[in-house]
């Protein structure tokens, strides 16, 4: 098992390395002179030159990359010319906000998706199945930002019980939650649909399996048959799928935070694109990719723990 984890971690490291190159080159491919972007408004040629030297922009690209990577590894992602704050500091403030949003969305998605998926599978072909399946397709089809606007319309404009937008730090839990609930619902809806569909198909597979017939023949209660024998095998698949949805969650967060004006990394991404705030953009994209790669790795390890066949096979698949 250790061999599998090590090998998997090695691949992740290579992927991460590739990601840093893409981020580095990608940001340099954006239109505009990075030196101009890094400097305060209307810089003089002298200031520009000083900045080029300071950031090593006068050196060849590979050298620049090594310097940049070295600094990034030490936690130095540069300073935002827009705010004058170190990018690392901004990220440390903003990552937890998006993380909270993502976790809330995940909770909503699992709380809706897992039971709905089980129900649809157990009652396959009946009205509850059709309702759940159709609702899931609806959830997949509704664009986040439109759902956000509709929810604002419903709960902030029509029946004003929740704030339309903005953010309150978690030090005020009630205020924080009241601002987070609508965005979390928006972000969780699409994910709930994905979870539900995966859960349904995994449960259908399990419920048709021979071992479920065995459990029934042993006289186990239907609760045990569905909730222990079928569910355990289905959860393995669903955990994997949910883990791989992190990218989708971040994509969703980008637009959801924009609508609800939540200062997470999603909004930071868009803001830095429009403000041409390249150090921030570089930092936020790098942190997103790193997060994705790490979560993928963790999901794979969790999968190998949950699925004893892989654990013993040592990832020989």
């Amino acid at each position: 098992m250790n061999g599998y984890v090590l090998r998997r971690a090695g691949t992740s490291l290579i992927t991460l390395f590739g990601a840093t190159i893409v981020v580095f080159l990608g940001v340099r491919a954006l239109p505009g002179d990075p030196a101009v972007a890094l400097s305060p408004e209307n810089p003089s040629p002298g200031v520009l030159h000083a900045i080029r030297v300071q950031y090593g922009l006068d050196k060849p690209l590979p050298t620049q990359y090594v310097v940049w990577l070295g600094r990034a590894l030490h936690g130095d992602l540069g300073t935002s010319p827009k705010t004058g704050l170190p990018v690392t500091q901004t990220l440390m403030e903003r990552v937890p906000i998006t993380a909270e949003l993502a976790i809330l969305a995940l909770v909503i998605a699992v709380a809706i998706g897992v039971p709905a998926g089980i129900l649809a599978a157990v009652k396959r072909g009946s009205l509850p199945d059709y309702l759940c399946s159709t609702a899931a397709l609806g959830g997949l089809s509704v664009p986040h930002f439109w759902l956000g606007i509709l929810l604002i319309l419903a709960f902030a404009v029509h029946v004003p019980i929740l704030p339309a937008s903005g953010f309150v730090p978690i030090t005020d839990p009630a205020g924080n939650l009241s601002h987070m609930i609508l965005p979390a619902v928006v972000l969780g809806t699409g994910l709930a649909a994905v979870v539900m569909r995966q859960m349904r198909s995994a449960m259908l597979d399990s419920l048709g399996a021979d071992y479920v017939r065995t459990a029934r023949a042993k006289g186990m209660s239907e609760w045990t048959v569905v909730g222990v024998h079928a569910l355990r095998n289905s959860l393995v698949t669903v955990v994997t799928v949910v883990g791989l949805q992190l990218g989708v969650l971040i994509s969703g967060a980008v637009i959801t935070e924009q609508i609800f004006i939540i200062p997470g990394i999603g909004k930071l991404t868009i803001d830095s694109v429009f403000n041409r705030d390249y150090p921030s953009l570089q930092g936020v994209v790098l942190i997103t990719a790193t997060g994705y790669i790490v979560v993928n790795l963790l999901v794979d390890i969790a999968y190998s723990l949950l699925n004893p066949r892989i654990r013993v096979a040592g990832g020989a698949r």
Binding site: T11, T15, A19, S141, W146, I149, I250, V285, Y292
Partner: protein, 290 residues
């Protein structure tokens, strides 16, 4: 009951497939929706009751069913229905073109990786891994920002963002097909790679790819509307559903319909594609690999 052997050479069962499809009401509804959207997009200039770009100060933000405007008007007094009709073009173009373009790039890469395995596979798979570590929307927004805002750049950005998933699906299919006996037999009998790839493998990857495309198109439509919403897609005054929604955001309490209709158009279009795709997947009996 024994499972049907996984023969790749499926008999021609067009008629039966069609009947199976037609027996699924949701799939048929989806198909009808898709056809309607395509027809509306094609005929938009002729069926739109008004010129979609004509600004009329006297009718700013009129509610639906007033002043001869079925769905009301926007903040510049333009007819909503006409703008929705014309806006269908940008959304559909982005969704379909981005998917087709993405497939054109991805399928050869997937074939290469799955068929030759070896270093080609390692190289392609690593790159795919790297690109996949960036969220779809971040790639699309980043590329759109690099390329500059326009409909064609929006299409390119979405196409590139879709490539990694398509490569993975194609590669997975090819790996599976390569194991089949008749492919092995063809290789042993000295059939050139070209023949094996294009006669034996490619045709059998079509069903899964078609199904994948029906999932990708609605995703691309939503992605396109997001890019437009952010101002990175179709530029004003040409309407697109995303920009209409973005314009509507500030009038949300005065003119809710302004925000409701474009979103509804996006949602119904993507729902139609999703229903159609689900039905197709069931009928073609394709198992989705994620």
């Amino acid at each position: 009951m024994t499972a049907a052997p996984a023969t790749a050479e499926r008999p021609r069962t067009g008629g039966r497939t069609r009947r199976k499809f037609l027996r699924r009401p949701p799939a048929v509804i989806g198909l009808i929706g898709v056809v309607v959207v395509i027809v509306v997009a094609l005929l938009a200039p002729w069926i739109a009751p008004y010129d979609p770009d004509t600004i009329q100060a006297t009718t700013v933000l009129s509610p639906p069913l007033t002043g001869g405007h079925l769905l009301g008007t926007d903040d510049l007094g333009r007819d909503m229905l006409s703008r929705l009709f014309v806006g269908a073009r940008a959304s559909l173009a982005a969704g379909v073109l981005a998917t087709v373009l993405g497939l054109l790039v991805a399928v050869p890469l997937g074939l290469l990786a799955g068929y030759y395995r070896g270093w080609q596979d390692s190289a392609i798979s690593r790159v795919v891994d790297v690109v996949l570590s960036f969220p779809f929307l971040v790639i699309a927004v980043g590329l759109a920002a690099i390329l500059g805002p326009s409909l064609s750049n929006e299409v390119i950005a979405l196409a590139v963002a879709q490539v990694p998933v398509f490569v993975r699906v194609t590669r997975g299919e090819v790996l599976g097909l390569r194991e089949l006996e008749y492919v092995g037999a063809a290789v042993v009998n000295g059939a050139p790679d070209r023949v094996v790839l294009f006669r034996h493998i490619l045709p059998n990857t079509l069903n899964p790819l078609v199904v994948q495309a029906t999932v990708a198109i609605p995703n691309a439509i939503i992605g396109a509307s997001v890019l437009s919403f952010l101002g990175l897609g179709e530029q004003p005054p040409t309407p697109s559903w995303g920009t209409m929604l973005s314009d509507a955001q500030q009038y949300i309490s005065q003119a809710p319909w302004f925000a409701v209709f474009p979103g509804l158009a996006i949602a119904l279009t993507t729902l139609s594609f999703n229903l159609f795709g689900d039905g197709l997947r069931d009928v073609l009996d394709v198992r989705m690999r994620s």
